[in-house]
Symmetry: C2
Subunit: 149 residues, 2 copies
Amino acid sequence: MFTSRPIGFVSSPYKDVGEVPKGLGAQHEADGVLKILPEFGAGLTDIEGFSHLVVIWEFDRARGFELLGTPPSDNRPHGVFATRSPRRPNPIALTIVELIRREGVELHVRGLDMLDGTAILDIKPLLSSIPSERLRRGWLAEAEARQKS
Amino acid sequence: MFTSRPIGFVSSPYKDVGEVPKGLGAQHEADGVLKILPEFGAGLTDIEGFSHLVVIWEFDRARGFELLGTPPSDNRPHGVFATRSPRRPNPIALTIVELIRREGVELHVRGLDMLDGTAILDIKPLLSSIPSERLRRGWLAEAEARQKS
């Protein structure tokens, strides 16, 4: 067990949940800045060599959790562990962003989907990727197919 | 801020840190089981449609953190946020596994790199992937190139 602590905060164009693109086909291409606290700055050493980062952050505006819920991308309920719902037993979120440039303790990135001021818990380099032809996307692929038909 | 709580535990062939493949070219192909606690079982609804899962787990045997460290894959130090070191400000780990099959609250998976008994914090479906030709892998690619030359 541990208690979460922010290593920094997101500077994002999204000030309100309603502004974040959601649902089928939502694109996350917003630019913003991951502002890391100065005391953790040394932890960024050599990060600029990576094109993509895994940002782990806290759903700090979600309250409680829901084991079954209907996501914005479907009209049917699914288990929380089969969705990206913010109402999870541990309110941990994950976004893969593209690192555009680093300026000291500020990481300028593309592909944000978090609200302005969100607490960042961790950053990891993205080291590998699953080939897209090997990915099966379950209910989400079915919801997309229903929308197209 | 939140306090982490396990949603389940990993059943893994690795009983000791020294048994987990590490360093350049390490392959994580171990089979094992994510045993979810019965009270969270409903959260697994429809998870079997996804081929790959993001497992978020706790480095529950790591103590403290280190902003600069030398990973097993290199002989030079790098910032903690540019590595997968277990000694992080928030001891959060992430592994992408392939879902082989589900049996009730047990997810049989391939690609484990955690120790037996590790606490699982969250599971999310892997929804998309960065094309490998767009990935730059910084110091890790350099360390691989040095090893080959």
